[in-house]
Amino acid sequence: MRLNTPDSLLYPITVTKLLRQPGDDIEQDAPLFTYEYKSSVTEYDEDTREDVERIRSFYADFESELEGSITSLNVQKGQVLNRRTFVAEIEEACKHEIQFGGLCTNCGKDMTTMQYNSTSKNTDRATVNTVHGHTQLLVSQAEASKADEEGKRRLLDTKKLSLVVDLDQTIIHATVEPTVGEWQNDPSNPNYDAVKDVRKFQLIDDGPVAKGCWYYIKLRPGLQRFLELISGCYELHIYTMGTRAYADNIVKIIDPDRKFFGQRILSRDESGSMTAKNLKRLFPVDTKMVVIIDDRGDVWQWSPNLVKVSPYDFFVGIGDINSSFLPKRPELEAKPPKLASADPTPADGSKPTPQEAAPKAAGDAPASTATNGDLSAVDRLVTMAGKQDEGSMKEKIEEQDEQITEQLENRPLLQKQKFLDAAEEEAKASPAVEAAVELLAEDGQEKDQELPHHKYRQNLLQDDDTELEYLAQSLGNIHQAYFDEYQRAKSGAKGGRIAELRPGHGKKRSVDEFEHIPDAAVIMASMKARVLQGVNLVFSGVVPLGVDIHSHDIAIWAKSFGASVSENISKRTTHVIASPDRRTAKVRQAAKKGGRIAIVTQGWLFACFTQWRKVSEHPFRIHSDAPLNGTAGLPDSFEGRDEGQLSSSDEEAALTEDERETRSNTPHSNGRLRLDTEAEELEKFAPSMERADSSPTEQESPDYWEDIKDELNDFLGSDAEDDSDSESAKSEGLKTPPSARKRKRGEVGGEGEEEEEVEGSKLQKRKKEALGRNSSLTQMVVPAEGGSMAAAAEATDPGGGGGGVGEDEGDDDLEAMLAAEMSRESDGEGA
């Protein structure tokens, strides 16, 4: 190592005598040469009897801060040094390249001590953390690359890659909720089947609150097989944000013999960061042979090595118990695609009429998976909002403790199951619904196993995750592609082999060898980019307002799979990702373009992400009847008109013809028949469904109903009360399932389409829309009642009036409403 004179010397200095020769050994702090320097000092002058400043010469020894043998000496006697100078090359006996806890592992010296002549800290010589379970063992960069090279050679020999595995919500789901334990001991509980194989352990000292509390661990279905499969082509590492004790206990469960993970476990105790995961912590030199699986992309800063898996959410609403350390999960997952329709009535507090609740429950009951999504979403949003306030002030650890206490005390799972049971009681009350349930239940899949046991008791927890199967496949594909590429690169580099074999090239060869290995990140990127190539996505009603779509998780994720994302529907748009319960302007606009644009749920995207291929859109299609409802004739939005109108008018005309055709195909029939066809439709979907939860069609109707209600309430104000009465009166009379009525209504409303003009404000439009729907519902009801009168007037007016100036129409509305109000008042007086 080069020995320099320190900056702190009083330059210029003159070397007066060399005390050592090249080849000599030198100990630490032993003098290497003596030198002379000049400095001004204050001296007492005897003659003048006062203090004077004088320049004096001093002699001093230059002492070596390094220990070893001198290989070359760079100074001569008499040489003047003017600044920091390299004076000697010293070959050290120990370079202190590996240090443990501030000690050199080679010579046992304390590296933290500083000498008066030290110019650099000895601890700086080793800064790289390479070992999983310890932060105290540090190595130098050179040592790290050496180890890395060794590791790579070993991996290449065994044809393996490294795989970094996350625990929480990726391969397991953990909770501290004690209800799980109770369910496990109660075979009569509807959740017994799901939780009977949940494993548990106790952590004794893990924070003050969680002292000795039980952790319940659900393994993701197929985990054992997954690990066995994948350990054949990957060397597995665990990287978790849980504590060391937690990680060790999990590994005891998932890998009791430690044959998959060995000692390669990194917990937050050793991670070095509480908020982010860093591949450099495990692979400090390079990450060419590394693949990551995690349910969160943000903690990895969307590393190109990452295979993002969809989070495993078995204990609904619990989330990741170790996530208080991570940044808040972006809102995307707040509404898991598989759990769409839930009965939201108790959540929003509005009191439903029994008639209204009944069809809704009917929609719910057959889809046993569909019972918890909204609740957990609400729950999670509430907890998130609450936590963010506190989180800014309190320590993260406290936050986690709180979270755990909350789970222990509030028992969210128990509450949800209770609520679920209550909802079923309600559903049971109505015999018509019961019939519908049974009818529809026949084509569901899981209920077949579950219904026989407890016909009406739904279970909260579903054990139907298939992620790992697909994950194993895609990981296998990556491995395959990687080593194909490696073989190609290797045979390509063979030309220079003779040169390499020459003596003296041994070292160089090994370096070259590793330069040629392909980068897993690149290979994955190209594999992923093929998945959704040519797909142009527009998101609608999925991402919260005010969030830049391009920086949103789902968009980033989609882009990594080769899709392009735009904000508005254009000619290039191929897919619209929409929410099943809201029919937004974009959806309607897309629907007008007919089959060209597929309107699908997020589920489709997730299925593509999971399976690494473009899956069929069919089971995920939503709003396929969009043009058929009463709103189709209305303008979609202004942008739509501006852009697409002229060019696509022909297309549109053709399209409406098609629509008419489909309409004429659907028989104008009673509810019973309709129900049959719907069941048929469902059956058609059933076998093709990859994920049991993915059929949005059956969940659509209740939400749709909700929509109408909302809009009515919005625009008719107090009159809505009257409407709902009339509406419910009607539904009681007919007892048709909502979808049937919806179709019918759509047809009625559809008659007025096409002729309507594009005038009036957006509000006007929406009002018209609401009124139009209302009219179709309540036509036969006595038009003496509030809003329905106006609406009826609107409906009977076949667009001619609507085609007029918007203001006129507004006046009409006002007048009608006024009249309604007055008549109501007089009614009240009469009564």
Partner: protein, 171 residues
Amino acid sequence: MFFVKTLEHRIDLHPSFFSASAPDFIKEKLYQDVEGTNTGTFMIIAVLQIDDISEPKIAPGTGFAQYNVGYRAMVWRPFRGEVVDGKVTNVVNNGFFADVGGLAVFVSKTMLPPSMKHNAEGSTPSWSEADGMIIERDSQVRLRIKGIRGELGQMYAIGSIREDYLGALLQ
């Protein structure tokens, strides 16, 4: 090496414990506070005897009573050059870690006999040599401490088994 050492420890007692049984609380607290702790130079294994409990003083402004407790304790202090027995906790490619009581020792590969080779394959990584000495997780090893450094609450040491009669112990 083990020593019996006279030590002193200050205990703050909350006013709610002021009663006839205060000395019992003090003793209880002493055992809790000091046993198993590491001062950076030695580790307190056990309190052998409580010599005296001083008259309490009320700490100004808090109301806590301060007791000075003198006690004799069994302590363990490792020295450089000492030969100790430990248990292997982790094997890595640079060497292995071992616990010697509360002391974490790292034995670097330069401190292993040159004949030992690292095997990363298989379920457990290990160091082994041809004649059958295997060092893996949970092996008992005898090693010589080459260097030692203490921080408050933690001690680190470097060990060596590159000598006769050191290394894995036969079980």
